[in-house]
């Protein structure tokens, strides 16, 4: 038994200082010598219900795997432009009906299978097959036939010309997959991208590791390991960022927390824009919204600036039609029906609702949706319109009641698909909006191979919607991204819902 006296006062003091010194050394050494980190922890508000973008719609799937694990024939870059990828180059026949692609050589899937024209044919045929559950199947219906004359060339013949086909082929829904791993992609994604799928602890995180033999030497990747952590609660997300557990959070769901990060030196926080157009869809097929004047009146009852301030703390941009400022050919049509309660009341009276109008609003349970609903409710009350809010469980119940059964008066949702103005030509669709003139404009625009005419036509389409108001065009959701100051390479805007990590790296 050690007697107390052995640790006399001076000896104990010596012992304590030695201990302190021992602790200090590693800390000092750490800072000076370490090379920039090669691992990244990314925070995401929602966990994807699977990792196969070709078999499910939620954009969060593409935000994990697109351009990281999977690649397409073409890709959309950070400015929304189409760039070559697995298709090195392509030629389009004068009548715009035949596309011949020259494919990259020596490309392998993560499971060792080779990528060639036959695999590309398999992937495109899978999307267009009758039993296919590809969420964007309609976009590729224009492809009549796919042929692979030799392993390096792919020939597509279209039923009618399409100006946007190359853009559609760059979307997450059209990434290249191969037959062997096709059925297991949902929980074990196999692609040709710079990162390989490592593990997925459901409800918590997905881990990707750098693929050593990636074909595209030009786009060298700077990260060895990427972890996507799913943090739903905004307050927990902010806490994880501040505690350093998470390095970047590309889509912070709570705008009210964003201001603090903008002021914080340790973080870069520059708001961009997404493709998510928040529109209050109305059931144009039934009273009272079958009457255009009622729709126009309600549009004038909405003060978009105040709505954005209330619903998203002022971040995001007002829109006058189903088009975002990011997209080429955008026209600012917020002036068509500006905020004018008096005129709105007059128009309502003219439409026969002078004594008042009542309808129900099916509000999905996302934060932006419930807040928008409450603000619209107050704004409509100012013009004598009573709106009862029916919170509706999202996605299942809302999709069934609004999209399939179309039993709703008004609702609100953010449409995330890029360049999707054509949905107002869909029949059947939840708007119940039938305007042949609009349909022809959009159809001709789709077939216009020449850029200038296509953008002019899209401009016309925006004008028709702005004037006809099949839905109240409110605002575009911002991309409130936050990352540690020592990180660069993230996209500012989100022309395609994604987190392309190929250019992301630590500066020191």
């Amino acid at each position: 038994m050690v007697s107390r006296s052995r640790f006399s006062r001076p000896r104990r003091h010596l012992l304590r200082s030695a201990l302190l010194a021992a602790l200090a050394i590693p800390a000092l050494a750490g800072a000076a010598v370490a090379a920039p980190r090669t691992d990244l922890v990314l925070g995401m508000p929602v966990e994807p219900p699977g990792l196969d973008p070709t078999s499910a719609a939620p954009t969060v799937i593409g935000q994990v795997v697109w351009q990281n694990v999977f690649e397409g024939l073409t890709r959309v870059d950070r400015d929304g432009k189409v760039q070559p990828q697995l298709a090195r180059s392509w030629t389009v026949s004068p009548d715009g009906l035949t596309y011949t692609f020259a494919l990259q050589a020596g490309v392998k899937f993560h499971n060792g299978e080779a990528f060639d024209a036959n695999t590309a044919k398999f992937a495109l045929d899978a999307i267009r097959a009758p039993g296919s559950v590809n969420p964007q199947k309609a976009l590729y219906a224009v492809i009549a036939d796919v042929k692979a004359p030799d392993s390096g060339t792919l020939v597509l013949t279209l039923s009618k010309p399409s100006g946007n086909l190359l853009f559609w082929l760059g979307l997450p829904a059209a990434v290249m997959v191969e037959p062997k791993s096709r059925d297991g992609l949902k929980s074990n994604p196999v692609g040709t991208g710079p990162f390989r799928f490592a593990s997925w602890r459901k409800g918590d995180r997905v881990e990707l590791t750098r693929s050593p033999d990636h074909w595209d030497a030009a786009r060298k990747v700077h990260l060895d390991k990427v972890t996507f952590r799913f943090i739903g609660d905004p307050q927990a997300a902010a806490a994880a960022l501040r505690a350093g557990d998470v390095d970047a959070y590309p889509l912070l769901p709570a705008p009210e927390l964003y201001g603090a990060f903008q002021k914080d030196k340790a973080f870069t926080a520059v708001p961009g824009l997404t493709e998510m157009k928040v529109v209050a869809g109305m059931n144009n097929a039934a009273k009272p919204f079958s009457d255009k004047r009622v729709r126009q009146a309600l549009m004038m009852a909405v003060d978009r600036k105040l709505l954005i301030e209330g619903a998203y703390s002022g971040y995001g941009a007002a829109i006058g039609s189903h088009y975002t400022p990011n997209d080429p050919g955008y026209k600012d049509l917020t002036g068509v029906y500006p905020y004018d309660p008096q005129k709105a009341k007059a128009l309502l009276a003219e439409a026969g609702y002078g004594k008042g109008l009542t309808f129900t609003f099916k509000s999905p349970q996302m934060a932006y949706a419930t807040r928008t609903a409450e603000i619209l409710q107050a704004m409509f009350a100012e013009v004598g319109v009573t709106m009862t809010i029916a919170p509706t469980e999202f996605p299942a119940k809302w999709v069934q009641e609004v999209m399939r059964d179309r039993s709703f008066d008004m609702t609100v949702i953010a449409h995330a698909e890029p360049l999707d103005i054509a949905i107002y030509a869909n029949d059947p669709y939840y708007f119940g909006y039938k305007n042949p003139a609009f349909n022809t404009v959009v159809a001709t625009a789709a077939e216009a191979t020449d850029e200038a005419t296509r953008l002019k036509l899209y401009g016309e389409a925006q004008g028709i919607l702005a004037e006809d108001v099949p839905a109240l065009f409110l605002f575009v959701l911002p991309k409130l991204s936050v990352w540690k100051a020592k990180l660069t390479g993230f996209w500012k805007n989100e022309p395609v819902p994604s987190n392309d990590l190929t250019e992301v790296r630590w500066t020191e």
């Binding site: 307050q235 009210e256 927390l257 209330g310 603000i375 409710q377 029916a390 919170p391 469980e393």
Partner: protein, 282 residues
């Protein structure tokens, strides 16, 4: 399950204090709730978005919320909404639960069936089942009431059954039976009055739980739909403003705490007053 009772310390004094404080707090609560029907400083639904997130006394007594609505008015109207949901839910739970419990104690045949149903109800995860009910019946006060009330039935059933069984075993019940009274009359005249104390304790405790469950439901987007404010939803929505505007979370939180405290103290005071056995104990 033994009733949760605060043992009286020195005979009367503590019971009276608990009862008094509990009664005052609850009366205050009910008073504010009723007053809100007639008058509130501002219209709880009126939004002044440009004056959003103002601190207490800067704009209105308790400041404004994230949409510029007056917090004090919302709290008052919220008191009414939260209380009505809580009282209705507990009413549902207590009545059905007590019926089941008493029936189970009276008739062994009922006992097996009812207890199996209670076990089944008990084994369902509360929050999950509330969401299912919400999706099934659609949002609104009735759904919240049913979602909260249904899960109280097993609790009341268990408490009443336990207490009623003790009473059935007493001699004076044999005497009543000798006098030819039927099971129903015995239950009404002898069993219920004797277990009233324990039921009342459970009622006040479950009232407190109901208010908290409504907060949980609102957190999941299920409680009473907008624009009717409830304490639960105010608490849920204040969550992301905790650092910026803590008063948003503090106001409903303290209101819930006061209500729960008042109800619990009232329950304990009543239980001590009603149950002679407890009052005399040294």
């Amino acid at each position: 399950m033994r009733a949760l009772v605060l043992r009286p310390r020195r005979g009367f004094r503590l019971d009276d204090a608990t009862l008094l404080v509990g009664a005052v707090l609850t009366a205050l609560l009910v008073g504010v709730a009723l007053l809100s029907l007639v008058w509130t400083p501002e219209d709880p639904a009126r939004m002044r978005i440009l004056q959003k997130l103002r601190g207490p006394l800067v704009s209105g007594l308790l400041g404004t919320d994230h949409l510029g609505r007056d917090l004090a008015s919302m709290l008052m109207r919220g008191a009414f909404n939260s209380l009505t949901i809580a009282f209705a839910a507990v009413g549902l739970g207590a009545v059905l639960g007590t019926l089941a419990g008493v029936a189970a104690a009276a008739g062994p045949r009922f006992d097996a069936v009812l207890m199996r149903v209670c076990d089944a109800l008990f084994a369902l995860p509360p929050i999950l089942s509330a969401i299912m009910l919400g999706a099934l019946l659609g949002p609104g006060a009735p759904t919240a009431i049913i979602a909260i009330g249904v899960f109280m039935i097993p609790v009341f059933a268990r408490v009443t059954r336990g207490a009623a069984m003790q009473i059935w075993a007493r001699e004076y019940i044999m005497a009543a039976r000798m006098a030819g009274k039927g099971t129903v009359r015995i239950t009404l005249e002898h069993v219920l009055p004797n277990i009233a104390g324990q039921i009342i304790v459970q009622v006040t405790i479950q009232l407190a739980m109901a208010i908290l469950t409504e907060a949980g439901l609102s957190f999941l987007g299920l409680g009473l739909p907008p624009p009717a404010p409830t304490w639960g939803r105010m608490l849920a929505e204040s969550q992301t403003y905790l650092t910026q505007a803590p008063h948003l979370a503090l106001a409903p939180g303290l209101a819930i705490a006061a209500a729960v405290l008042g109800l619990n103290l009232l329950g304990d005071g009543l239980a001590a007053r009603l149950d002679p056995r407890r009052r005399q104990a040294s």
